[in-house]
Amino acid sequence: MTGRPDTLENQSPLNDALQTYRQNYPEKEMNPRIAPEAHHMIQMERVSGWSDLSGAPANQFITISSLPNDEETAKAGRHLWVIRANDVPTALEYRPWGDDRALCPWGDTSDDDIIKHSNLTGGAPAHSGGEIWFCSGTKIIVNAYSGRYGASSREEFELIIEALIQCGFEVAFMGFDAENSEVPNSILLGEPEWRKKSD
């Protein structure tokens, strides 16, 4: 199903905290290197499994037991998020659709088992996008990794991290590639460096 995103105007703590970020970094068009496949442009309905990341604690998401420090461990429990005008839809990337095929954003039309960031936006512009892992309801690991909406600098993403910290999360950031600084990391290198609101 295509059409306008299922937006929800709310005054969540995270939305408040993201105000400065949204003002400084307006919505941008998708920037794919290659035209996305049709089923990755279909807007997910809430019932298919996205939830608004509104602030800590965020207990509705699946938590991880291993740190995402290689391709396999990163796959487990990886969620995609985007910052839209009024919310931050977040959903598990790999959903074992199986019998839930009917709830899959693209219904029964594809064998694909994963969603893309564009499934959270229907292909519409967004401020930013990335990946997130929940160690608990309040402890998260994030990155700016998105082929469609990713932040292109540490400075930009720092505002997002600050916003997450402000609304109660303890945050570890995967960073950018030290040798290609516009490219975000998609795995954790070394131990996570946790940041939280100082008391």
């Binding site: 391709e71 590639d177 040798e179 990391n185």
Partner: protein, 473 residues
């Protein structure tokens, strides 16, 4: 994951200017540059400082399936586990029994880099590459697949030889030998990439290892037989002198000869790294004399061509004493290699003829030395063996012209610039590197990494120019 070669996918990876219907066709005409970091591969951006690979390199090293991920993602992960590349490097250092923290300080690492490495954080891939080369690891696969681990048996052999009671190798020799092993493997890899027929030369010429060491019975006779057989297979006249032995070994036989410098009694080594065999020669010590160096090279050639894998066991290391005074050889392979060397360079019957034609006196000895390019001590021993008596009792004082043999056995190494390029990387190795660059098979950044110039463009250009001028011309 898809490996369908759609035009859209190929263009997304290799760029609009590329053409062809397969990834390898597209890669040849692509100007796309990729950045190889410790953990991932990505498209180059203006601010990138990492190791640059051209499209052919990226495709050759990682394959289309990996590259195609970049259609949809900013990068593709290369490391197969969070423990890499640390585990491969640390395991190898332990295998060689070397102190990696001490080594890396000479390779441009800072203490912060060491700290980051220990904490599994990101460090520049160039620095990992330098360490990998020193430890004879396959640097391009580092962290990506298990082939990066290198030849484990070679590692174990180097460690075992270190602890031998009769010839202990210092850590510095072990590292030189391990880096020589890397250079040998890399040179053959480049030759394969260039589809050079040097890679099958030994087999094509009809050489096959020979397990006969003559026991019981005189091993020297087997060495002589193999020397004669070698001349026959190389179509060298039975009694002809051999000029330009290094060139013969490197060009006709396609065997990498790595020249290195170490102040010790280490003369030479025959190394097999992952099935790729080559020779390392120490330029210091007695090998500084071209006549001695030829004998060392011929000795190692005897091991390389004729010792089975079970005997070679990845590595044979020879001291000057082992080669200069064959009576000191204790093992059959060493005795055979010594006999091979002298008979290959100076067939005994021809030596006797030259000696007698020139007076059977010091002039005769001098003629043997200058005709066959062997040292005085080797010539005396060979002549005495020919007559089966002390034909030459006391070594006469004669002038030997080692300098006239120097040019043919040196391959322009002393003239190479810049001096920052290690001796081990000059000569034919550099030639293969520049050929690969000229054919677009490797990036200029890779040239810098292979020759040890790093990112210094001026030094890379100097090294390329030196190679064209002194090695390839």
């Amino acid at each position: 994951m898809t490996s369908v070669y759609s035009n859209q996918s190929l263009t997304a990876i290799f760029g609009q200017e590329s053409f062809g219907v397969t990834p390898s066709e597209r890669a040849k005409s692509s100007r796309q540059v990729f950045i190889r970091s410790q953990h991932q591969l990505s498209f180059a951006t203006p601010s990138a400082t990492g190791r640059q690979l051209n499209a052919i390199e990226a495709l050759t090293q990682f394959g289309w399936e990996k590259l195609s991920e970049l259609q949809h993602r900013p990068s593709t992960i290369l490391i197969r586990s969070g423990e890499e590349p640390y585990k491969t490097i640390l395991d190898r250092a332990a295998e060689l029994d070397v102190n990696w923290e001490k080594i890396v300080l000479h390779l441009g690492w800072t203490r912060n880099h060491i700290e980051d490495f220990k904490k599994r954080r990101q460090i520049p891939f160039r620095l990992l590459e330098r360490l990998a080369q020193r430890l004879a690891l396959q640097e391009q696969s580092l962290g990506f697949d298990s082939s990066a681990a290198g030849d484990r048996v070679l590692g174990q052999r180097l460690k075992a030889i270190r602890n031998q009671t009769d010839f202990k190798l210092t850590e510095s020799i072990v590292l030189l030998l391990s880096e020589s092993a890397w250079t040998i493997g890399k040179q053959i890899y480049l030759a394969e990439l260039l589809k050079s027929n040097s890679t099958t030369a030994i087999r094509d010429l009809g050489f096959n290892v020979d397990p006969d060491y003559g026991e019981p019975g005189p091993t020297w006779r087997i060495g002589f037989r193999l020397a004669e057989k070698t001349r026959e297979l190389l179509k060298i006249g039975k009694n002809d002198p051999i000029n330009g032995l290094k060139d013969l070994v490197e060009t006709k036989l396609g065997i990498p000869v790595i020249q290195l410098e170490h102040e010790s009694d280490f003369a030479g080594a025959t190394i097999s790294n992952g099935g790729r065999r080559g020779i390392a020669i120490n330029l210091r010590g007695a090998n500084g004399n071209a006549l001695v160096r030829r004998m060392t090279l011929a000795h190692e050639l005897g091991h390389l061509l004729w010792d089975p894998d079970t005997q070679l066991n990845r590595l044979v290391v020879d001291r000057y004493g082992d080669i200069e005074d064959p009576s000191k050889s204790t093992t059959a392979p060493e005795k055979r290699a010594n006999a091979f060397a002298i008979q290959f360079l100076a067939p005994q019957n021809a030596v006797k003829q030259v000696y007698e034609d020139n007076g059977r006196n010091p002039e005769g000895l001098s003629a043997v030395i200058s005709t066959f390019g062997i040292s005085k001590s080797a010539a005396i021993q060979h002549i005495n063996n020919a007559y089966q008596t002390h034909e030459i009792g006391k070594s006469p004082h004669i002038e030997t012209e080692a300098d006239s043999w120097e040019g043919g056995e040196s391959l322009g190494v002393p003239l190479f610039k810049p001096s920052s390029v290690a001796v081990t990387r000059r000569g034919r190795f550099a030639s293969f590197v520049v050929q690969a660059l000229d054919r677009g098979l490797i990036s200029k950044d890779t040239v810098g990494a292979l020759l040890g110039c790093g990112q210094n463009q001026e030094e890379i250009n100097q090294a390329v120019d030196s190679t064209r001028k002194y090695v390839m011309s």
